[in-house]
Every structure is written in structure tokens, then in C-alpha cells.
């Protein structure tokens, strides 16, 4: 592969970054918030995509890692006055350990498919009840962060700062996913997803690779959680560990296109604005309208495009290309004679 071709895929995220950076002056406050939510959800979905997409282990409890990121950062900040920069590192380390431990137990015992999904739901649900009963973490009420502006405290009165930070996360996430997708690690993950026994037979330590994916995914989502709590300045048990949060995280990846670099971002970019606008237009009349849309999107995606928007696009493109190439290569009458027909 030529050098130019190898670096081509990295240009897309950079262009996106530039385009997004030009947006703030032309967006009103409402759209700025919507885009910020797109960034947060896209970033979380990218983290999920490592374990759920590339590795094929559909976790239904990734709110757990997001929650660890958000809670620990907020806790160390509120209780010890620790800067969120350090809180972030602690939170990511704790999340890495959690991801490693869960992966270690669950994958060693060969839990997969539906069983894996159920375990992850149950663990996230346990986290809701555990955190609700720890008064140091604010119990059921959650933690409200104090205001302390400054780069050292990862807070700013200027919402545009968060917007640019969000762009940084998304573009960084896309670049990193793009890079990883060409690494041996991700090829192993996809081998595990496609056929675990075959991968094992070819010498891939499937358990180890799955645990690695779990750790990557956990750290990634914890960082998303840190960003979440620094923006909203609040975290509560249900707002991070709740089942709907975990479902939303994976929803964007699935709608956009599983195990693709761009899928999570595309999914969030399409769905978040729709639901946010319905929420603000119909929120008072139709409580729950946004989740209704998520549910419908999920059902329709599973029925009509199980590989997501990007999967569908790819398939259409391939069909088009095949048609063209078959027209070019096999003009009428030029087909080799088949043994069967004669």
C-alpha cells in the first residue's frame, strides 16, 4: 500500500474537525447544545464500538464505565478539592481496572451472546443501587459540582470551550479508531467476532484479546463520563448507570454502523438532533417522545439495515460497483461456456 493511500483515511476526521470548528459562530445556543450532545454520545459510542462492534461482545451496561468516569471525577473534586485532571486519571485507571476485572471473570468463563448481555445489564444495575446507598457519593441525589472556573479545574464559563473540547474528543476518537483498525489488535478482535474457535485455532489468545478490548472500551467511556460531568456539573445514579443510558450508548453505534470508524459518529449526528428537537418541541406534551424515537430507530434498523447506515451505504455501493464491473467485464456473448449448460 502506498504511503499516500495509507494516510488517506486520516484526512476525513481532520476535515470534519475543521468544519466543526467553523460552526460555533453560525449556531444558536440550542444547536450548540445539540452538537455538544452529539459529541458526547458519539464519543461514548466509539468506546462501546471497540468491545461491542469490533470484538462482537454486545455489552448492555456501558453506562457503568461512563458512570465510573463521571462519579470518581466529581467525588474527588467535591470531597478533596482534587483537580479534575487528576480525577480524570484516577477515574480512567479505576475504569480500566473494572473493565479488566469484569472481562477477566466473564470471558474466562466463556460467557457470550445473550448471557454476556445479561451480566452487563445486571452489573450496571447493581451499580445504581450501590451508588444510591453510599452517602459519600451523594446517595440517590447524586453529586453537584461546585463552580471553580479555570483550565486547572476543567471548567469554563464559556460554553464554546466545551464545544471545542468536544470536537477534540470526537476527532481524536475517530483518528484513534482509524489507527487501531489497522493494527493487529483490531484484526484479532474481528477474528474473535467472526469465529472464535477458528481464531483460537490460529493461535489468537481470544480471552486475552477480549479482555484487552474490554479495558480499552472501559477507559474510553470513562473519559466520556469525565467530559459529561464537567459539562453538566452534575451526576446521579440513574443519569449514568441507568439502563436507558447504556442502551443509548450502543444505539448510536448500531444505527450508524457496527465496527466502522465513522458509524458511531454518523449515528449520533443523525439521531441526537432529531430526538433533541422532539424533546424541546413536544417534551411537555409527549414525555418520553425521544426514547420512543430511539426505540423505533432500533427496531427499524434491525428489520431493514442490521449493519447500520454505513453498512447499508457500503452494500449499495458494492452492488452498484458489481453491476458496473459485470457490465464492463462480461459483455453479451462473451461469457465462457459453462460445463453444466452444454
Amino acid at each position: 500500500m502506498s504511503t499516500a493511500k495509507r494516510y488517506m483515511p486520516y484526512i476525513g476526521p481532520l476535515i470534519l474537525g475543521v468544519v466543526l470548528c467553523l460552526l460555533p459562530p453560525i449556531l444558536d445556543e440550542r444547536w450548540k447544545l445539540i452538537f455538544l450532545l452529539v459529541f458526547i454520545w458519539a464519543f461514548l459510542a466509539m468506546g462501546w464500538n471497540i468491545l461491542g462492534g469490533y470484538c462482537g461482545q454486545h455489552s448492555l451496561g456501558h453506562g457503568l464505565y461512563m458512570g465510573i468516569g463521571a462519579y470518581l471525577t466529581a467525588y474527588f473534586f467535591q470531597s478533596f478539592g482534587l483537580t479534575p485532571w487528576l480525577g480524570m486519571i484516577i477515574a480512567m485507571a479505576a475504569s480500566a481496572f473494572t473493565g479488566w476485572f469484569i472481562g477477566w471473570v466473564v470471558f474466562r468463563y466463556q460467557l457470550k451472546g445473550a448471557y454476556f448481555a445479561l451480566v452487563t445489564i445486571a452489573i450496571a444495575e447493581m451499580a445504581v443501587y450501590i451508588v444510591s446507598n453510599i452517602s459519600a457519593l451523594g446517595g440517590a441525589a447524586g453529586i453537584q459540582e461546585d463552580i471553580k472556573y479555570g483550565i486547572a479545574w476543567l471548567q469554563s464559563p464559556n460554553k464554546a470551550v466545551y464545544f471545542y473540547a468536544g470536537i477534540g474528543l470526537v476527532v481524536g476518537g475517530l483518528l484513534l479508531t482509524q489507527y487501531l483498525s489497522k493494527q493487529r489488535f483490531f484484526y484479532y478482535l474481528q477474528a474473535v467476532r467472526e469465529n472464535e474457535d477458528a481464531a483460537e485455532a490460529l493461535g489468537v489468545d481470544t480471552v486475552k484479546e477480549k479482555i484487552k478490548a474490554s479495558v480499552w472500551s472501559a477507559v474510553w467511556c470513562a473519559l466520556g463520563g469525565v467530559f459529561y460531568v464537567q459539562y453538566f456539573m452534575y451526576v446521579g445514579p440513574r443519569s449514568v448507570f441507568g439502563e436507558t443510558i447504556s442502551v443509548q450508548i450502543l444505539l448510536f453505534a448500531i444505527i450508524g454502523g457496527l465496527s466502522t470508524v465513522w458509524g458511531p459518529f454518523v449515528g449520533a449526528l443523525i439521531l441526537v438532533p432529531i430526538t433533541e428537537i422532539t424533546r424541546s418541541e413536544l417534551g411537555t406534551v409527549f414525555q418520553g417522545a425521544s426514547l420512543l424515537i430511539y426505540g423505533a430507530a432500533m427496531v427499524l434498523a434491525m428489520l431493514f439495515m442490521p449493519y447500520g447506515i454505513l453498512g447499508l451505504a457500503k452494500r449499495l455501493q458494492e452492488r452498484y460497483r458489481n453491476k458496473r464491473s459485470s457490465n464492463n467485464l462480461a459483455p453479451r456473448g462473451a461469457q465462457p461456456e459453462g460445463g453444466e449448460a452444454s
Partner: protein
């Protein structure tokens, strides 16, 4: 902590009653899993619909609670069959995760439709049945909960008999064991799947009618009860009818003893903890042996 014999006995008895209810709401899930290996994440939401139907029949139409059975059972069965035909059936051959995502989406839809239609209020009916209790030496048992437990036992036995001794039941078991071979034997497997799904949904209609005298309904009621049903089914061994009943009892006891021992909602951690341990170390459930 004041943990005397009477408190303990009361918790034990309440646990068994609760266990009956848990078993009843889980039979359908285990049946559907056993026959077509689908985990229906919208299971709790089907129950929620049943509870709303039962509630409105009692509160607005004035039905006696237990007569609502004649409407909730066919209604929930039809809803289940309709949803199965339109959404699940077309992608039955897809990977198992797609079906999980699909039913997860369905549960979001049903939950939030209920929220739109009925608002977030918690609704419950107060009938004569609610207050009727049996008092055995200080241990109080609610009559409607006893009826629910009996309902669970009868439903378990009924479905067991149906699968064991009727021709259709045998066909269901054949389709569950080996769909391809069953097809070759002339069994209409898609029709059997439809029947199993309808039957599984019908048990939820029954559960709703038996629960409405002492339970409540709200748009999110299915979220918790659905999770409970998953736990019960896993404890009992997926697809195992009697295991399901036993799993219901274990969960009922864990909930009520847990509530007596642990403060606040920590008992839930205990229940989910049991679930996680079972999934990891004994996914085949309490009764059956590990399958190769």
C-alpha cells in the same frame, strides 16, 4: 437489628408469595427461550400492558378483578402474536444479538408509548380483595397473593402437561429440540413458534389479572419486573419450567429476606449479585446439568 422469629417467618412467607408472582411472570419468558432461543427484552413491557388493561377494566369498567382474565389473556396474547409476526418473525434467522436489540427497541417503544398515553402516574386498584388476609399466629398472608401463587403453580403444571401429553405440545418440543428435523417430520415450525410466543404472552395476561388486586402499574413497571423475570429464568435454567418455578421462589425469598436484612435498596444489590454469580458460574441454572 431486631431479628426475631416472627419477623423471620413473616419474611419467609412473604418471600414465598412474592416468589409465586415472580415465577408466574417468568414462565412465558422461559417458554419462549426454550422453544426458539429468543430473549424477549420486551417481556416486562407485555406484562405492563396487561396490567394497564386489567387496571382499566377494574377501575373504569368495574370488572371484578379476577374476571379480567377473560380479556387480559386473549388481549396480551394477541398483542404478542401481532408484535411477533410483524417484527420478530422476519429476522428470526438473524444473529441472536440482533433479536436482543430488536426486542430492546420494542421495550423502549412500549414503555414510552405507555408514558405518553397514561402519564407517569403509579396506578393501583383497591378492591375487597386487597384487604382480605389470613392471619396465622401473627403471620399475615394476603389472600390475593395466595391466589397468585396458586395461579403460578397451576400455570406451570398446565404448560408442563400441555408439552408432555398433547400432540401439539409434542410438536412444540420437537420444534424446540431440532427445528430442521421437526420440519422434515411435517411439523409447521413457524406456526409452532407463533403458538409458543402467543402462549408465552398469554401467561403474562394471566399474571397481570392475578397481580392487579395487590400490585400496581406504571410505565416503568415492566423494567424492574422484566429484569426479575430474566433473573428467575437464568436461576431456573433457561427453558426449564420447573426450574423457573424454583427460580421464582429463590428470587422471592432473596428479595424479602434481603429487604429484612439489608437497609434500603441494598437488597437489590444482593439479588443482582446472585444473578451475576449464577450467570458466570452456573449458567445452566439450579436444576439441570451442564450441557456439553
Amino acid at each position: 437489628m431486631n431479628f426475631d422469629a416472627q419477623v423471620f417467618t413473616q419474611a419467609l412467607v412473604s418471600g414465598v408469595m412474592l416468589g409465586g408472582m415472580f415465577a408466574l411472570i417468568s414462565i412465558g419468558l422461559t417458554l419462549i427461550w426454550g422453544v426458539m432461543k429468543i430473549i424477549n427484552f420486551a417481556h416486562g413491557e407485555f406484562l405492563m400492558l396487561g396490567l394497564y388493561i386489567a387496571y382499566f377494566l377494574v377501575a373504569n369498567v368495574g370488572f371484578p378483578p379476577y374476571l379480567t382474565i377473560f380479556i387480559t389473556v386473549p388481549a396480551v396474547a394477541l398483542i404478542g402474536i401481532f408484535i411477533f409476526k410483524v417484527t420478530i418473525n422476519p429476522i428470526l434467522k438473524d444473529p441472536v444479538m440482533n433479536l436482543i436489540m430488536l426486542t430492546l427497541g420494542l421495550s423502549l417503544i412500549l414503555q414510552n408509548l405507555a408514558l405518553v398515553a397514561f402519564k407517569a402516574d403509579v396506578l393501583s386498584v383497591r378492591t375487597a380483595w386487597t384487604k382480605r388476609v389470613i392471619d396465622v399466629g401473627g403471620v399475615v398472608i394476603s389472600v390475593s397473593q395466595v391466589i397468585c401463587l396458586i395461579g403460578a403453580i397451576l400455570t406451570t403444571l398446565g404448560i408442563w402437561w400441555f408439552l408432555k401429553s398433547t400432540d401439539v405440545g409434542r410438536a412444540v418440543r420437537a420444534a424446540a429440540q431440532n427445528p430442521a428435523a421437526a420440519t422434515l417430520m411435517g411439523i409447521d415450525v413457524p406456526k409452532i413458534y407463533l403458538l409458543a410466543f402467543g402462549l408465552g404472552s398469554a401467561t403474562l395476561g394471566l399474571a397481570a389479572s392475578l397481580m392487579i388486586p395487590f400490585y400496581y402499574t406504571s410505565p416503568t413497571v415492566g423494567l424492574f419486573l422484566g429484569l426479575i423475570a430474566f433473573i428467575v429464568v437464568v436461576l431456573g435454567g433457561m427453558g426449564n419450567l420447573f426450574g423457573c418455578f424454583l427460580g421464582g421462589l429463590i428470587m422471592g425469598l432473596a428479595e424479602s429476606l434481603g429487604a429484612a436484612i439489608f437497609p434500603g435498596s441494598l437488597s437489590r444489590v444482593f439479588s443482582f449479585g446472585i444473578f451475576v454469580l449464577f450467570l458466570i458460574f452456573r449458567p445452566q441454572g439450579v436444576l439441570s446439568r451442564r450441557q456439553a
